[in-house]
Each structure stands twice: as structure tokens, then as C-alpha cells.
């Protein structure tokens, strides 16, 4: 019997705002517990929420980039449940009138194109974090509310994914899109991008859905595919053994590489959603939505296409350059300074990434402008590739303006033929044996002689002219 998997992903993305969704507290990660809190995000009596419009701007941008219909009127709803990390006893979310619906995400899985529909995108506030500290006496627990009230969007994908690999590709494409939009930093480990997966299986050809399980705690890209594939195989084994899949929430155990059922008691929720009476409906004018659409930045897929079509990059290089927004911005800023896109791409992908050694590009002293200048100096013959490489290493660690450095240190190539001729003559005189060997037919010795001339010129002689002069003299 052969089965297929039906997978739908619910992704929570933390919006890159400075302050929380309903109060002015900072969203910064990594502060001491409960530093970024106030009466509103602690759910103190009498405190009321006030919407952060910046969060709406980011959410709308994400929704439009995923080609959703953004609704002119959406509604805040309370999701009621008790949990120590939920200060008000309810989460402010959106329920039957979400911000946006009917979008899609295009992705490439192992070379072929796939489209996954986005059912809805809604906004909500994050909960705090329970801290269980075994070091302290007893079995006390603490709660850190720094994260409580941080703005999230939940992106609910249609159950159209068929494998762990597709799920991982979906997550990567979504992450890349959100990062290029400056909507979310996409950091799974810090929890700014979180993924829950609804997984079920059915016989190939069946049209009804099987009983699904919900996978939580998938907090790394490596785990997305692994957790889902494990769960698919587990469900197949259950069915093949003649049992039925139980609808439950399961956690991915990254150590043991298995999914485990949560205690069912913890998930028997009736959230009693109802419209939040503390907040008016979220109203967006058609004009505001239109202008948000008009000012959407170019998305990575479109950039990739343009880099190939208009800038002449290989598809491979274009893909690499559109993976990370920081790299892509560096590339585009450099190309803005000098039109040799291929040259700049090569320098970035070969030299820059190696020199960066995983540091953020912003930490390097080299600016896109100085890279552009460096490549221009090569392209107009002012410096040799060798000089450029030496200079590059220095620019990365110490910075500086390439043209000024070349001038200051006299690094410009010698293009004066008479001068080069004199150097060539001196080298030929000093290497009579090699000259004889060349003339005897050992022509590959030319490379050695070029090297000697270059060395004698301190690397500055134009290699092309050196070659010409040598051939003429030896000819």
C-alpha cells in the first residue's frame, strides 16, 4: 500500500519593530528577565492596549509580498486560555476576520517549481517565556515577560506540502522573503521564526484527509524536514500495523530525533474567541494598501531573475547573491558604483565570503563603494589582479579608499612599453639559459620569464604588455 503525506505549515514570524504590539516596551532579545515590561504587557489591572502602527505596516508588507488580499477591515479577537506566560489570561490575536487571506508562495523544490497557497495571515501578540530553574531550591518556575506582547504574524499555509524536503524549501523561501522585506530577521534559534506543522497521511489517490497530528518545537531548519519525515513514517507504520493515528500535538525531540506526544490534557482547549472590546477594528484604506503595494521592495525571486537577465550573472551566482539580504544589498550597492556586475559578483562570492569568515558584512571595513572602486581599477588596467588581491585583504581589515591607496603607494601598473622593454631586456640577459631553452622549442618556459619580469617590476608591470614584449624579443 502506498501513502502520501499532507502537510500544512503554520509559521509565526516576529515583526521587526522596535516596540511591542500594544505598548511602548522594547522588543530587544537577550535582556535580563522582565526588564522590557510595563503595566500593559504584564496585564496589570486597568491597563489597556494601544496598537503599534509600525507592526501593521510590516504585516501588510508581508501579506502583499505573499500576494494576499489585505482586508480593509480586520478585527482583534481574544484567545482565552490560562497559562503562566500569558499575562492577561488571553492573547490578543485575530480570528474570523484576519488581516489578509488568499495568498501564495512560489518555491523551487529540487529544480522544479511549486506553489503553496497561503490561507491567511493574522497579527497577534507573543506570550512570555516560562523558566524552569532546577538550580533553585524546590521545583519553582519563573516567567520572563520580555517577549510577552512582541508582535507576530501567523502565516497559515494550505495543506499542499507533500514531504519534509518541500516543507524545508517552503520555510527557506518564506524566511528569505520576510528577510528581504525587513519584516522579520528569520532567526529560528532565537524564536523569531517558528514553525508548527500539521501532518497527516492518506492512500495515494484518496481525496479525504487523514487524522492529523500537530508538530511543535521545530526550532531549526535542520529539524523541519527531519521532524516531518519522521512523523510521516511514524504515521505510516501506525496505519500499516492496523492502528489509527490519534489526533494530538507532538513535540520534536531533537536529541532523540523522534516526535513525542504531549500530554493530551494540555491541549484540550476551547479558546472562546470573541472580538476584543478594548480595540477598534483595524481599518486600512484602499489607498494605504495600494501605496504599500506600490512601495514593496523587489523580492528575491525577481532579483535573481534580473541578475541573470539584465546583469548577465550565471543562475548559480544569482541564486547565491539572493539568498541573504545583506549580501544582496552589498552586491547591488557595489554594482551601483561600477557596472561590472560579473566582476563584482566574483569578488563577493570568491574573495569577500572567504575573508568575512561568517562575520556579518557590516562588521568588515570594506564598503560596497570601495569594492566597486577596486574592480574599476582592475577593469581600466590601473592595477593588476595580483595587486588587487593584496589590496583587497587590507581593505577588508583596515578599510580605506582603493584609488587613493594605489596612488599613495605607487601601485599603478606600468603600461609604459619602453620601461617594460628595458626590464625585459635585463631579465633576458640574466636568464640566458632559459632564453636558449625557449628558442630550442621549450616554449612553456615563457611563463617563468613573465614571472621574472613581473617580479622585477614589483608586480606592477602590465602582464599583457610583458607577454607581448617577451614574445617579440624572443621571436
Amino acid at each position: 500500500m502506498s501513502f502520501e503525506a499532507v502537510i500544512g505549515l503554520e509559521v509565526h514570524a516576529q515583526l521587526l519593530t522596535r516596540s511591542k504590539l500594544f505598548c511602548g516596551c522594547a522588543t530587544a532579545f537577550g535582556a535580563s528577565p522582565n526588564v522590557h515590561t510595563c503595566e500593559v504587557c504584564l496585564g496589570m489591572p486597568g491597563a489597556l492596549p494601544v496598537l503599534n502602527r509600525e507592526a501593521v505596516t510590516l504585516a501588510v508588507r508581508a501579506a502583499l509580498a505573499l500576494d494576499c488580499t489585505v482586508h480593509e477591515r480586520s478585527q482583534w479577537a481574544r484567545k482565552n486560555y490560562f497559562y503562566p506566560d500569558l499575562p492577561k489570561g488571553y492573547q490578543i490575536s485575530q480570528f474570523d476576520r484576519p488581516l489578509a487571506t488568499h495568498g501564495h508562495l512560489d518555491l523551487e523544490v529540487e529544480g522544479s517549481a511549486r506553489t503553496i497557497d497561503i490561507l491567511r495571515i493574522h497579527m497577534e501578540e507573543d506570550a512570555g517565556k516560562n523558566v524552569h530553574d532546577d538550580v533553585l531550591a524546590g521545583s519553582r518556575s519563573y516567567v520572563d515577560f520580555n517577549r510577552g506582547g512582541v508582535p507576530l504574524i501567523e502565516i497559515v499555509g494550505a495543506p499542499q506540502i507533500r514531504s519534509g524536503a518541500e516543507a524545508a524549501a517552503y520555510m527557506r523561501e518564506l524566511r528569505r522573503t520576510l528577510r528581504f522585506l525587513d519584516v522579520c530577521d528569520g532567526n529560528l534559534e532565537e524564536g523569531s521564526l517558528r514553525c508548527d506543522a500539521n501532518v497527516s497521511i492518506r492512500k495515494v489517490g484518496a481525496t479525504t484527509l487523514g487524522t492529523r497530528t500537530e508538530l511543535k518545537n521545530i526550532n531549526s531548519f535542520r529539524f523541519v524536514a527531519a521532524a516531518i519525515d519522521f512523523e510521516i513514517h511514524r504515521q505510516i507504520a501506525v496505519v500499516e500495523a492496523g492502528d489509527a493515528v490519534v489526533q494530538e500535538t507532538r513535540l520534536w525531540d531533537a536529541q532523540a530525533k523522534v516526535t513525542r506526544a504531549m500530554r493530551s490534557k494540555e491541549e484540550a482547549h476551547d479558546y472562546r474567541y470573541f472580538p476584543d472590546p478594548d480595540l477598534p477594528d483595524l481599518v486600512l484604506t484602499a489607498a494605504a494598501i495600494h501605496s504599500a503595494r506600490a512601495t514593496l521592495p523587489e523580492l528575491p525571486a525577481a532579483k535573481k531573475e534580473r541578475f541573470v537577465d539584465a546583469l548577465g550573472l550565471t543562475a548559480y551566482d544569482a541564486a547565491l547573491l539572493t539568498e541573504e539580504p545583506e549580501l544582496c544589498r552589498f552586491f547591488e550597492a557595489a554594482v551601483a558604483g561600477h557596472k561590472n556586475a560579473k566582476g563584482i559578483a566574483n569578488w563577493i562570492l570568491n574573495e569577500l565570503l572567504r575573508e568575512a569568515r561568517g562575520q556579518p558584512l557590516a562588521a568588515l571595513k570594506l564598503t560596497p563603494e570601495s569594492l566597486a572602486e577596486l574592480v574599476r581599477l582592475i577593469d581600466d588596467g590601473t592595477i593588476s589582479g595580483k595587486i588587487a588581491k593584496d589590496l583587497f585583504a587590507e581593505l577588508v581589515t583596515a578599510g580605506g579608499a582603493p584609488a587613493a591607496l594605489v596612488k599613495e603607494r605607487g601601485l599603478a601598473q606600468l603600461v609604459d612599453t619602453a620601461g617594460i622593454e628595458a626590464t625585459v631586456d635585463a631579465v633576458l640577459a640574466a636568464n640566458a639559459g632559459s632564453v636558449a631553452a625557449y628558442r630550442a622549442g621549450k616554449t612553456n618556459i615563457l611563463g617563468f620569464l613573465v614571472g621574472q619580469v613581473m617580479k622585477a617590476s614589483g608586480g606592477k608591470a602590465n602582464p599583457k604588455i610583458v607577454n607581448e614584449v617577451l614574445r617579440r624579443r624572443l621571436g
Binding site: E39, M44, P45, G46, A47, L48, P84, P87, R272, L279
Partner: protein, 489 residues
């Protein structure tokens, strides 16, 4: 001679401005009256030291010719639902018995900025749930006209303090009548402003779409003055409206000539006490005599108002009260058997029976399978009730009704029968459901000496018309100037 604390707020304010009295003396008079009338249970907390300090500061300002405005130096008190930084704010509940407010409610801040002296915190039904003040976890407040009777609720302590002279005015909150009904039962003036007119920030929520803050005062002029100070847009409350409504103090004396007053026929049917009916009809006759046009109007969905109100209010309350879980503040009962048990014990011990009843009711109303039949349906009826009022206001500028169907009832008389208690709000809940303003003012006394209240209802943002009409009536009678026997020196 009248005791200092029996002056109206307006009279005291003028005397302070002219240097005839000092805030400190007025404050001492209120504190002394509060001590004399301690048995009425108006106050849950008296901040004598803080009040004296504020009064002294006000006197200094006044002497230096730097009086901040009409409320500077006026001793007021607050229903214990308003967060008041540094003071215990209990909301009449065990669950907040030791809760010291970490910040000031916006209205408290506005009063302090205006120089008002905060005397203390006033008794109330727990979480504002009740119509008799008997659901206060710290004992009932009593009606100053007859201490064997209830003062009304939930802002019972506020009405008692103002009626008995232990505060020149008080702030209350009104979710279904909680300002107007106790004002009526204690013979004072109470205003529930338009929803959104006064900030709810820092006011402990009962039912967010219905709650509104308002003044309880000795007369209508005081009411207009206090409203001016507390009203206005607050960026911290998203439901507070950025509307510049007409001033309630200007044109207060302009009278009612030509004003169309609607009498809703559904408010004069079964269940209304004959003495209340007679008093209200006399008030209507007074208005006619003052040149108002009296027209009959209809509010056809009135009979559904109580049911609608109790579905919506309890639904919202069940969610608003979820934050009292023992985790971050307030009472915590933790037997050490895990968080679930901590929730159960904390809430079982912290909440009184009426609050529990409403949480259970509200939770049920929102539950899967019942939401459409109850909550959703109630919202639809709420819309119909709103339309009723809109239609009535197409025919009349204001509506005239009784505030409460009966004068104050005896303590304990309705405790065993919640439904009977809920009916005390029958004429007041419509106003909250529609979000419109309502004013209650004294319109006479029953044969047994208990005050009777008249209710004026107006369209949204019509507070100025309400107080003008209230003032016109008040000038014709001395009901507002009568003081209960206990308050006489």
C-alpha cells in the same frame, strides 16, 4: 449653620477661590464626617495623611495666587476601581486585598493635575458586579437615608460618601447603571457619560464595551464641573474618542424651553413602584411647565435589554478577570501541587460568589457550540437596542425615565434571588448597551423617606444638554439640597 462638608462642590470651589475657606479645613471636615459616618461603610481606605498633604499644597497655591482651577483643593474620593499609585486598589475583592496600584488611572491623574485632594477609596460591589453594594468582599455600604437599606451599586460607596458629606464628589463607574442607580437610591446626582468620553485607562475592567467612568455629585452643577475635568481623549485608551464635545458647564443655566423630551412608553409598565412612577410623572409635568415639549417615544426592544446586557457583560467579564491568576500580583494560594491547583485555589479563595457566578455564565456564553446562540445573538439584539435609541432621538432631544424601578430596598432582601437583583438595572442597562450618556438626579422622596431618581438619556456626546436639562429641573425643587439625617451635624 451648614457644616463645611455639606456645601456643594461648586460652592466650596468659589469659597476657596475667594479665600473664604481653606482646602485643609474642607479636608478635615470630610475626614471628620467620614469618621462620624463610619458605620455607613462608604470608605474602604482613607488616606488622611495624603489628603492633608495635598490640601496643604493646594492652600499654598491658593495663597500664592496660583490656584490651578475650580477643582484645586476640593476633597474628592474614588470608587476603589480606579488605580491610584501607591494606594491599595482592591476593586472590592479579596483577590486584590493587598494590591497596591503601580500607576495612576488617567482620570486620577487628571484630578491630581487639577489639584483635587484624594481622600480615599470607596466601597463597591466586587469588580463592580452588583446593584446593592452587598457584594463587596469587605462588607456592604449602607444607605445614609436608612442604614437598614442598600445604597445601590455597584458604586454604592461613592453615592454614600457624597450623600453623607464625607466627600464633595466622587468618581464611579457605570457598566449597567452602577453610577445612576446608587445616585438615585441615595438622593444624589450621577452621570454616565457617552462611551469613549472618559478614559478607562487604569480603571479595573468589568465589561470593557460597557464600562464608563463618571461623576457622582451633590447637584448637577457639580456634575458638569467634574465631568469637564475628567473627560477628553486619552491616547492610552483606544476606545476613548478624539471628539471635542460641547462643554457641560457653559450654558448650564439656559433652561429647557423648546427642548423635546421623549417619554418611552415601555419604561412605564409592570414592575415600576407606584411612588416612583408618580414622582417621575411629576417631574415630567415640571418640565412641561418649564416649556419643554413632551412627546411619547417607543424603545421596542427594552424587554430584551437585561438578557442582552447579562450575556455581553458576563462574556467580557469572564475574559477580563482571567488575569487574576496569582502569578504576577494579588492573592496567591499555592498548595504546591502545580500551577493548575494554584489557579483553582487562588480564584476559589479570591473571588466572591457573584463574581464566580458571572465568570461561569460568561465562560458558558462564549463556549464552543453556545457562542452563536448567546454571545452572537446578544450582539445582534444590542444593535437593535441602539437603533431603538437612534429612532427615539429622531423624535426627541432627550428621554425622561425613572432611574430605578424602586427606591432603595432592604439589605439582604434580594441577595437570595440574583434575577430580582438584576432587574434593578432594567431602566439603566439600555444606555450602556447603546453607548449613550445618562444622568440621574433626585426627583422626590417616597413616603418612607427614601429618595427617588429621575433619569435623563441623550444621544452620544449630548452631556451638555443633559446637564442643562438636569439643572433646569434642579432649580425648581430642593431635592438636591436635602441631606440625609445622619449627615446633619
Amino acid at each position: 449653620m451648614t457644616a463645611l462638608c455639606d456645601l456643594s462642590l461648586t460652592a466650596l470651589s468659589r469659597a476657596l477661590a475667594r479665600g473664604e475657606h481653606e482646602s485643609s479645613a474642607a479636608t478635615e471636615a470630610c475626614l471628620a464626617r467620614a469618621a462620624d459616618t463610619k458605620g455607613l461603610g462608604a470608605y474602604l481606605l482613607i488616606d488622611a495623611e495624603g489628603a492633608r498633604r495635598q490640601a496643604a499644597a493646594a492652600d499654598l497655591r491658593c495663597r500664592a495666587g496660583q490656584r490651578l482651577g475650580p477643582l484645586d483643593g476640593v476633597p474628592l474620593a474614588l470608587k476603589d476601581i480606579f488605580l491610584t499609585a501607591g494606594l491599595k486598589t482592591t476593586c472590592g475583592s479579596r483577590i486584590l486585598e493587598d494590591f497596591v496600584a503601580p500607576y495612576d488611572a488617567t482620570v486620577v491623574r487628571r484630578l491630581k493635575d487639577a489639584g483635587a485632594v484624594v481622600l480615599g477609596k470607596l466601597s463597591m460591589d466586587e469588580f463592580a458586579m452588583g446593584s446593592s453594594n452587598e457584594h463587596c468582599a469587605f462588607g456592604p455600604a449602607k444607605n445614609p437615608w436608612d442604614p437598614t437599606r442598600v445604597p445601590g451599586g455597584s458604586s454604592g460607596g461613592s453615592a454614600v460618601a457624597v450623600a453623607s458629606g464625607s466627600a464633595f464628589a466622587a468618581l464611579g463607574t457605570d457598566t449597567g447603571g452602577s453610577i445612576r442607580q446608587p445616585a438615585a437610591l441615595c438622593g444624589v446626582v450621577g452621570l454616565k457619560p457617552t462611551y469613549g468620553r472618559v478614559s478607562r485607562y487604569g480603571v479595573i475592567a468589568f465589561a470593557s464595551s460597557l464600562d464608563q467612568v463618571g461623576p457622582i455629585t451633590k447637584d448637577v452643577s457639580d456634575c458638569a464641573l467634574l465631568l469637564e475635568t475628567i473627560a477628553g481623549h486619552d491616547p492610552k485608551d483606544s476606545t476613548s474618542a478624539p471628539v471635542l464635545a460641547a462643554s457641560a458647564t457653559e450654558g448650564l443655566e439656559a433652561g429647557v424651553k423648546g427642548l423635546k423630551l421623549g417619554v418611552p412608553k415601555e419604561y412605564f409598565v409592570a414592575g415600576i413602584d407606584p411612588e416612583v412612577r408618580t414622582a417621575v410623572e411629576r417631574a415630567i409635568a415640571t418640565y412641561a411647565g418649564l416649556g419643554a415639549d413632551i412627546v411619547e417615544v417607543s424603545l421596542p426592544h427594552t424587554e430584551y435589554a437585561i438578557a442582552t446586557y447579562y450575556l455581553i457583560a458576563t462574556a467580557e467579564a469572564s475574559s477580563n478577570l482571567a488575569r487574576y491568576d496569582g502569578v504576577r500580583f494579588g492573592l496567591r494560594r499555592d498548595p504546591g501541587r502545580g500551577v493548575r491547583d494554584m489557579y483553582l485555589q487562588t480564584r476559589a479563595r479570591g473571588f466572591g460568589p457573584e463574581v464566580k457566578r458571572r465568570i461561569v455564565l460568561g465562560t458558558y456564553v462564549l463556549s464552543a457550540g453556545y457562542y452563536e446562540a448567546y454571545y452572537d445573538r446578544a450582539q445582534k439584539v444590542r444593535t437593535l437596542i441602539r437603533r431603538d435609541f437612534a429612532a427615539a432621538f429622531a423624535k426627541a432631544d432627550l428621554l425622561v425615565t425613572p432611574t430605578s424601578p424602586t427606591p432603595a430596598f432592604r439589605l439582604g432582601a434580594r441577595l437570595a434571588d440574583p434575577l430580582q437583583m438584576y432587574l434593578a438595572d432594567i431602566f439603566t442597562v439600555g444606555c450602556n448597551l447603546a453607548g449613550i450618556p445618562g444622568l440621574s438626579l433626585p426627583c422626590g422622596f417616597a413616603n418612607d423617606g427614601m429618595p427617588i431618581g429621575l433619569q435623563l438619556l441623550g444621544p452620544a456626546w449630548s452631556e451638555a444638554t443633559l446637564t442643562r436639562a438636569g439643572r433646569a429641573y434642579e432649580r425648581e425643587h430642593d431635592w438636591s439640597r436635602r441631606r440625609p439625617p445622619l449627615a446633619r451635624p
